[in-house]
């Protein structure tokens, strides 16, 4: 994979863990929709040959030495994209749930609105499906929690179908949640006064495998993410107060 050739260059990032049954199909679909964009599969130490399947399908593969989890994998891809000078990165999951036909919409929104992050939202038009009732409850709960923190409503805070620009990429290379990163990433960006936007899109059932977030894990997910959200709020508020204090001192001098 070569460094970005121009300021507008897009990279498609596909985090994958044991997705050998779906990865080639996802890569081929992305190639049809965005033939110019290089595709980087971050293989999170799969044991089923996902890396080989991805290479055969024509993607570049960043293989992690051991299983880091979703956040660690995505961050590794963001770091590489940033170092190679890419301006936009759109993340598509390796299980086939994200329909690549929305990639141009996400990219156009990033370019035209100047927002730092764009989220492919299942629920913006109110027609998305919830996979189970606990997850539905979790999404509803986080919409309520995030509304005052983000200063605007977010319909699908758990969507992993996201695009980021270079400024957001730079922030994420330094700080990115390791587990269940989507919601915390939104808070990190908001605390930096970055903007996000949602675009409606439809998700499909995963092609193979099962979601790692089961009904029971959803409860742990809610607790974990809630804690992460508040820690991030406190962390950035603390820094903001320190910065304001420093500014006042400088003005006095």
């Amino acid at each position: 994979m070569k460094p970005a050739r121009g300021p507008e260059e897009l990279l498609i990032l596909i985090p994958a863990f044991n997705e050998t049954g779906a990865i080639a199909g996802v890569i081929q679909e992305v190639q049809r929709v965005a033939p110019q964009a290089p595709i980087l599969v971050v293989d999170d130490a799969s044991t089923d040959g996902t890396d080989q399947a991805a290479r055969r399908a024509g993607a570049y593969v960043l293989r992690l030495p051991y299983h880091l989890g979703l956040g660690g994998g995505v961050q590794a891809g963001y770091k590489l994209a940033y170092e190679l000078g890419y301006e936009y990165v759109i993340r598509v999951d390796g299980d086939g749930q994200h329909d690549p036909k929305y990639i141009p919409v996400l990219l156009a929104t990033l370019r035209e609105t100047g927002c730092h992050m764009v989220i492919g939202s299942r629920f913006q038009n109110g027609d998305g499906d919830y996979t189970n009732s606990i997850r539905a409850l979790g999404i509803w709960f986080f919409r309520l929690v995030l509304r005052p923190i983000l200063g605007k409503p977010v319909h699908d805070p758990t969507s992993g179908f996201v695009g980021v620009n270079r400024q957001a990429l730079r922030v994420f290379t330094g700080s990115f949640p390791l587990e269940y990163p989507e919601i915390e990433a939104l808070v990190v960006l908001q605390r930096k006064r970055f903007r996000f936007q949602e675009v409606p899109c439809r998700m499909r059932p995963r092609k193979t495998g099962r979601s790692t977030i089961t009904a029971v894990k959803s409860l742990y997910y809610i607790f974990h993410v809630l804690l992460g959200v508040f820690i991030n709020v406190l962390k950035f508020e603390g820094r903001r107060k320190k910065d304001l204090g420093r500014e006042k001192d400088l003005r006095r001098e």
Binding site: M1, L62, A76, L80
Partner: protein
């Protein structure tokens, strides 16, 4: 009371011996043995000095010195475990950063070789 104090003495000496043995065998690094050794010394001193234990019990408003000893044991180990949690978290962060860097460097090397 006396039996509990003797037991604490024995346990603190055993803890000290185990930690020193582990450091000698390189199972524990010296910097991480310090908190365990400090904990063992504190317990040893308290279990051998009834004056110190009674004084602490009075300061804590506890009528029963063994209760004060148990409370101190609990506090000492909470501090040690907390310190280890901080160390583990730092190590995990460093480990993830190294794993990501390794993957990126391998990727770039492979790319260069293919070119």
């Amino acid at each position: 009371m006396e039996r509990l104090l003797h037991l604490t003495t024995v346990l603190s000496v055993l803890l000290m011996a185990l930690v020193l043995f582990s450091v000698r065998r390189s199972h524990i690094r010296v910097e991480y043995s310090v908190s365990w050794l400090a904990a063992a010394v504190i317990l040893l001193v308290l279990s051998r000095s009834s004056f110190a234990l009674n004084w602490i019990a009075r300061q804590l408003g506890l009528a029963d010195p063994p209760l004060a000893l148990m409370l101190l044991v609990f506090c000492v180990f909470v501090i040690v475990i907390y310190r280890l949690s901080v160390v583990i978290s730092d190590l995990k962060d460093a480990n993830i950063a190294i794993a990501q860097r390794l993957a990126i460097v391998e990727f770039q090397l492979q790319n260069r070789n293919e070119e």
